[in-house]
Point group: C2
């Protein structure tokens, strides 16, 4: 049986089933990052990659390819409430590639690293006989009382998303801004029960958060914060929004909305629905009653 018949999720789940030999490892690969206890602190570990022809087209601006590669991993560290720290860059590149093109990829990597205060500490460059591959491994750290996975949502929690969803293929999928400052502020001031970043689209990602929390959800499509020109369908399924999705107890909703507007006046925060009992997984809207 080949991989396309199995579906990517199955492949990922079956193969990255982790092998843990000691109890320093706190969480498995279901979360956005691995969590490992190191010298009494929680270290976050994440790797990711972008591949030519899959994550970007050959004519994409190489600077934004580098930016995207670095920011995908930064976004995953943020999604667990963590601070990114040190990055390794692994590249496989055709020998006939123009050096100026590759330098521009690194400019994008280095720009993202500076903006998010990440040390580029090393890596490896190899030849590729085909497409360009760029893998980033990123470490981060999070305080013991602040780290958040996908699994801690409780019944009745409100579900929030930052920013606006949909239509990222028009350019934002390359140029997005990981929500590090926002996530750090959230976990330092509010009892965030569960959090993740939206990489595959709300319709794929929210069920994962709900499932990890053993709950269902109800989302009001009319409440979805959409990018200009995006339909609810775009908001649900386009993916690569890299916004935060999180669950917060109802008692904290008003205080969050008030303080958020003061702290991040230019970034929208939207309550899109709630976590409900296990089994109910609804996106509710006009002409729309999806089971996912």
């Amino acid at each position: 049986m080949n991989l396309s018949e199995l579906g990517e999720d199955v492949v990922v789940t079956r193969l990255t089933r982790s092998l843990h030999l000691d109890d320093r490892v706190k969480l498995g690969p279901g979360d956005d990052c691995a969590v490992v206890e190191t010298a009494g602190r929680l270290q976050l570990l994440k790797s990711d990659c972008v591949v030519e022809g899959i994550h970007f087209l050959p004519d994409a601006d190489p600077k934004w390819i580098g930016w995207k590669a670095m920011c995908r991993s930064i976004s995953d560290i943020a999604a667990m409430g963590g601070m990114p720290l040190d990055a390794l860059v692994t590249v496989a590149v055709r020998p006939e590639t123009d050096f100026a093109w590759l330098k521009r990829v690194y400019t994008g990597l280095a720009t993202a690293a500076k903006v998010y205060q990440v040390n580029l500490v090393g890596g490896e460059t190899a030849k590729s006989p085909g497409p360009f591959f760029l893998s980033i491994a990123l470490t981060g750290t999070v305080e013991r009382g602040r780290y958040v996975g996908r699994f801690g949502g409780r019944k009745g929690d409100w579900l929030f998303v930052t920013g606006k969803l949909g239509g990222s293929i028009g350019g934002r999928h390359l140029r997005f801004r990981p929500r590090v400052a926002e996530a750090r502020w959230l976990v330092s001031r509010f009892p965030i029960h569960a959090m993740m970043d939206l990489s595959d689209g709300l319709a794929s990602d929210l069920p994962r958060l709900a499932k990890a929390s053993r709950l269902g959800f109800e989302v009001d499509l009319a409440a979805l914060p959409l990018q200009s020109g995006a339909s609810p369908e775009n908001g649900l399924r386009d993916g690569e929004d890299y916004e935060l999705l999180f669950a917060l107890p109802a008692a904290a909703k008003k205080r969050l909305e008030l303080e958020w507007r003061r702290k991040f006046p230019s970034l929208r925060l939207t309550a899109i629905g709630r976590l409900v009992e296990n089994g109910r997984t609804h996106f509710l809207g006009k002409g729309y009653d999806h089971f996912v």
Copy 2:
């Protein structure tokens, strides 16, 4: 100008020139791993990759592809005197790949992880439109007084190599054993001044160690420990030996040779030459007087 005109070393050097924003980062990418101070300890960070058609042929046993990918990074951690700890696996694979083949790659990864007590903590699986790509990011740790780079060699030090060199393309380039126990024992009991693992061949790697130490070297080709059937030329240039090369003060030579034979009776240890004043870089032998 394209990458093949520039040469791989130039590309690696120019592009992995690291961006360090804080002084937790102790060393640059010239060494086998990056060294970062984390919670008062030294953390080693390394990433590497194997690419189909470059590091293995399509008909190679997938189990050994996984083994090799994991062991290349383990060997780099060992080369700095460290213990490997946690690994992330990033894979890009054609959708039409047979699932059993990919599972066997993971069997090789997991086997190496178990043998060397590495936790497989997570990773990412992506589609590739072309060759199979497998990147490993590995963390490790080393005691403050024990970590060894390439840079600390002193004039008069003896140069040692473990094992035998040459002819790895016959199969050892896939099935080699990283010298973790040997390196840990060396740095715990002897004043190792400089160390690295031999990945590109002694003729490429020794000049790097000497240069990092601002010294020259003299090696007696007749002393090279060679695999059966390998010529001195093979021993110098084949590469992928993944044996340790290290520099030790002359005063410790006899004690090392005595204790090594007791501790590792089945693994050869050979004094191949010495570090000498800067500028002299000689491989000396019959019909052979190479400047490198």
